[in-house]
């Protein structure tokens, strides 16, 4: 075995000043140590290191990773004021070496991190870690070899800062508590021939709390923060294997297993993570395990757009994650279970691997994108050029190249009723850039000139995914769609370019504010699909047909979008939003070659629209009948749907503005084209807008809708007498009753109450739409060949609509 060549102290250019003295141990520390006396060491630290360089350059591959301008000292003046720590060292007769440490306020600062040819030109920015607290480290021996290590850490007043180009993203008011128990560090065989460092972790607990996240170099103001985060996670039976040698030449390779300790889920939140603004989003009672094999760390060179980089990649990451309860503002959505397998995969002769390259600087800075014909033809180049004009090729930041290939499934459980998103495959690649900017560099000139923000650039991000459909109750059950009604495409391919700004502070106090320009090109989205030959046992025979939106270009601009969490749930206020969706062809059949219905162009322009998302569904209701309880409802000829207490409710208000310049709400359907868009004959619903019912000026109500999503048992009646598609016999009007697992079923003419308890699970959508007034100025016929326009209708007004609907979605049997 050959460990990677470390050159850790290659270039120590600064100075290191420490002062140490021996002190006696205090009583509290001594109490945990038996039979020995110890020594105490006080250290005043003022450390300055010019740079530390790690290199895996072996002459044929690899490069340097440099950490520069490293300082350790007091947070008040890291360059000149010492940080104090006290360490009590003892040797126990049975437990081994104890080091009981007390850290007074200390700052660890890395001035820059850079790679390869970037070194000296640009970096990932400056990173600062402030902390104070205690650590008790116990190191003993174990049999047959190795070290037995336990550690208990309690840090308070922790802050982290990431600074690029003088602008800082800060997390403060943090606490970190962790307990590592009886970890075994051992050098041993990790496969037939390779020796590595193996760390067995029988138990590890960590609780992290982040009080504020903001864009200031000084302490955050809680009212202009993102909010607070906290988590508590416990692991058992976990292991890390580390060996020398990377994917290319020198480097580091790791295998890892992590398993949640689900015994902590027996009471309270167990393993959880939470975000709190005015109220809380919580992921509680988490369990599952993840295995990572062949994770490698190398220094890569000359990636086409980001240059030299840190290269990370894994052969496989597979596992499961169950979130036992997801809640918003105390209202439960239900449980979510994910299984995932990130492994290499080939699609259309292209190999997709799971890797991430990380480079310093902001790739694409200062570019005009004139060479990207897709972007230029779509007219998006100027927006992206504007976003990247705020930085240049010397700017600090982080540039990422990501490539992935994933298969997965997800099970959402609402009040004990599972609903499965079956057989997901996703893959793609693309670039992301991250840097912190000052307010005067915003794409929105109306923003504060002083408040900093996180700038996220997304470039040439090619996304592909598909899933088979939904299954109720169990994966052995029949495939169905239903995603159409949730606005989810079951099969999508698109390229994403975007410039997004994220600020701290929401509409009220803490929260998040977004501005951005998002561009989707080369898009193909399935609206609905069927998979032919799905159940013949041979996947290679599968062929999807459906209704596809082909040649999609989607331009989406949003300003001053705020996100808050309050007692009513997640609140999104959309500020101003304008968008254009161009669908080249609505295809029936094959996604690329199916018969086309023509083109669609939809433009939207909204201000002050809102979206509210909360836990809890529609509760109980009588469908197709009347009555306030099950017996009355069933007696009236209807059926009782009990949505339980869990579920999801999404309420929205869409305020459609009248046309302003090029911004408008309209929908155009075009056929008989001689070329692309605007070469044929089109019907246009022109200047669609809402108002409050009595004139064209008041516009505060918009289109308001509330949709609740539940998984619940519903009545399904047989449509025809005879065998159904699964060979089950019954008469028209008989009710489908399952065996209780949702698998096999029979048709029963007069089901008992016991039978009705075994009705099939369904996706139940309960919706209410209200409109005071929705206007369409004109319905026009556009003759692009001659340039003439005819008016078909001179106006349409929809007033006083209050429509409630309940829809249950089950497979076709």
């Amino acid at each position: 075995m050959r460990f990677t060549r470390f050159l850790p102290w290659l270039c120590i250019l600064g100075s290191v000043v420490t002062q140490a003295e021996l002190v006696s141990m205090d009583e509290s520390s001594m109490e945990s140590v038996s039979g020995q006396t110890g020594i105490g060491v006080n250290i005043d630290k003022l450390v300055s290191i010019g740079s530390i360089t790690y290199s895996d350059d072996d002459g044929t591959s690899g490069g340097n990773l440099a950490f520069s301008n490293i300082k350790i000292g007091h947070p008040d003046d890291v360059a000149n004021q010492m940080a104090f720590s006290q360490h009590l060292v003892n040797v126990d007769g049975t437990g081994g070496l104890f080091i009981d440490s007390l850290f007074e306020p200390t700052r660890i600062q890395v001035g820059g991190i850079s790679v390869g040819s970037h070194i000296g030109l640009r970096s990932m920015g400056e990173f600062i870690f402030d902390f104070e607290g205690t650590n008790l480290l116990q190191i003993g021996g174990t049999t047959p070899t190795g070290y037995l290590i336990s550690s208990e850490t309690h840090f308070t007043n922790v802050s982290t800062m990431w600074t690029t180009n003088g602008n800082t993203l800060r997390m403060d008011n943090m606490t970190i508590d962790s307990v590592l128990t009886d970890a075994v560090f051992e050098e041993k065989l990790i496969d037939a021939t390779t020796i590595g460092l193996v760390i067995d972790i029988p138990s590890y607990e960590a609780a992290v709390s982040i009080g504020n996240v903001c864009f200031t170099a000084t302490a955050c103001d809680a009212n202009s923060s993102f909010g607070s985060f906290d988590s508590s996670l416990a692991l058992v039976n976990s292991q890390l294997q580390i060996r020398g040698g990377g994917r290319e030449g020198h480097g580091i390779t790791m295998n890892m297993v992590f398993e949640f300790d689900d015994t902590v889920n027996a009471s309270g939140d167990g393993n959880y993570a939470a975000y709190t603004d005015e109220d809380t989003i919580k992921f509680a009672k988490m369990s599952g395990s993840t295995t990572v094999t062949g994770f490698t760390f190398d220094i890569g060179t000359a990636e086409a757009n980001i240059g030299d980089h840190i290269a990370t990649q894994f052969d496989r990451l597979q596992g499961s994650l169950t979130i036992g309860d997801i809640s918003i503002a105390g209202n439960s959505i239900g449980a979510l279970a994910l299984t995932y397998d990130f492994s290499d995969g080939t699609h259309d002769s292209v190999l997709y691997q799971n890797k991430r390259f990380i480079a310093p600087g902001v790739a694409f800075a200062g570019q005009d994108f004139a060479a990207d014909t897709v972007l230029v033809n779509a007219g998006f180049d100027s927006d992206l050029a504007n976003f990247y004009s705020k930085v240049d090729n010397t700017s600090d930041g982080i540039s990422l190249y990501s490539e992935w290939h994933l298969t997965a499934s997800a099970t959402y459980t609402d009040d004990g009723n599972p609903f499965i998103l079956h057989n997901y495959t996703g893959y793609g690649s693309g670039y992301v850039t991250l840097d912190v900017r000052s307010g005067d560099q915003s794409i929105d000139s109306s923003n504060s000139l002083t408040d900093g923000f996180l700038a996220i650039g997304i470039r040439d991000f090619k996304v592909n995914y598909e899933f088979d459909g939904f299954k109720a109750t169990d994966t052995s059950n029949q495939l169905q769609s239903g995603y159409e009604f949730l606005g989810i495409s079951p099969d999508a391919r698109f390229t994403l370019n975007a410039g997004v700004e994220i600020r701290s502070g929401g509409a009220s106090g803490a929260g998040v504010t977004f501005d951005g320009d998002v561009f989707v090109t080369e898009g193909n989205f399935a609206v609905t699909k069927s998979i032919l030959n799905y159940e013949d046992g041979n996947d290679t025979n599968d062929r999807a047909i459906g209704v596809y939106l082909d040649g999609v270009e989607f331009e989406y601009h949003f300003r001053d979008v705020t996100l808050d969490v309050d007692t009513q749930g997640i609140q999104l206020v959309l500020g101003e939003m304008w968008a254009s969706y161009t669908i080249g062809d609505v295809r029936f059949g094959d996604r690329d070659t199916g018969d086309s219905l023509g083109a669609l162009v939809i433009q939207t322009y909204q201000s002050g629209s809102t979206v509210s998302i909360n836990g809890g569904g529609a509760g109980t209701q009588c469908v197709s009948g009347s009555g306030s309880d099950s017996a009355t409802c069933e007696a009236s000829g209807g059926y009782w749907v009990d949505g339980g207490t869990q579920g999801l409710t999404i309420a929205s208000k869409s305020i459609l503005n009248q046309r302003s310049g090029a911004k408008e709400n309209s929908a155009t359907w075009e056929t008989n084209r001689s070329g692309g868009i605007n070469t044929g004959t089109a019907m246009k619903l022109d200047n669609i807008y809402t108002s409050d019912g009595y004139d064209d000026t008041s516009n505060a109500f918009g289109v308001q809708s509330s949709m609740s999503v539940d998984i619940a048992k519903v009545r399904v009646l047989k449509k025809d007498t005879g065998l159904d598609g699964n060979g089950v016999n019954g008469s028209e009007g008989d009710e489908l009753i399952t065996d209780g697992t949702g698998g096999s079923y029979t048709y029963i003419t007069a089901p008992t109450d016991a039978d009705k308890a075994n009705r099939p699970d369904a996706l139940v959508l309960t919706n209410n739409v209200q409109v005071k007034e929705l206007n369409i100025d004109q319905v026009q016929m556009l003759h692009h060949s001659s340039g003439s326009t005819d008016t078909m209708l001179n106006g349409i007004k929809l007033q006083n609509l209050n429509m409630t609907s309940t829809l249950s979605v089950t497979p076709i049997r």
Binding site: Y534, V547, Y581, F588, G598, T671, K719, D724, Q770, K797
Partner: protein
């Protein structure tokens, strides 16, 4: 995106439609593919819409009598204090001309067994011989529900001098009114597919 899809579905049926009876062969081919069976209920203005009698601008049509406003709840309409509580869809055919409206829409419609899926037409289908020329064509198949129940489903077809019933100079003539109660039996499928030049 959801709003896009809804608009798309509204547009699709206007293009090309056909009705067919579903054969046993066709039923057997349904298994294991995809698609959905839908059951549900639509209710319009069960007790009125979002326009309230207390709204500014919600005027009494003639300013006399017990009526206090044009729009209000259905209870207020029954009590005679407002003129209307249903939904209204008005269309102006000619510039500065009159309006045709689907007015005072209220009531509910429920159905069980509506199916929706995409499939390919094959020569085993029966379209009076047309299935041969359409062999292999993909269609959106809407399987009609066996029964559709109407409960107090009512509307008027009217002609109106203005788009809004609160506009100055408003007058309206009801051409006819409909109220449905009962059950309609439906059978067959609606096939939607593109034809012509896109």
């Amino acid at each position: 995106m959801r709003s896009n899809l809804l608009i798309l579905l509204l547009l699709v049926p206007t293009y090309s439609l056909a009705l067919e009876a579903m054969t046993e062969d066709a039923l057997e081919s349904v298994s294991g593919q995809n698609g959905v069976q839908l059951s549900g209920e639509l209710t319009f203005n069960e007790n009125g819409g979002p326009l309230l009698s207390s709204d500014v601008g919600n005027v009494d049509p003639d300013g006399a009598g017990a009526m206090i406003a044009t729009w209000g709840t259905c209870d207020e309409k029954i009590a005679g204090s407002v003129d209307r509580c249903g939904a209204r869809l008005a269309v102006e055919l000619n510039d500065n001309g009159g309006w045709v409206a689907w007015d005072e829409l209220t009531g509910s419609v429920s159905f069980e067994g509506l199916t929706l899926r995409t499939r390919e037409i094959t020569t085993t289908d029966s379209f009076g011989g047309d299935e041969t020329s359409a062999d292999g064509k993909a269609v959106l198949e809407i399987g009609l529900p066996s029964q559709v129940k109407f409960k107090n489903f009512a509307y008027d077809v009217v002609t109106s001098s203005t788009g809004r019933p609160t506009d100055t100079g408003y007058s309206q003539q009801t051409r006819y009114g409909i109220e449905f109660n009962g059950t309609v039996n439906l059978e067959g499928n609606l096939l939607v597919f593109p034809t012509g030049a896109p």
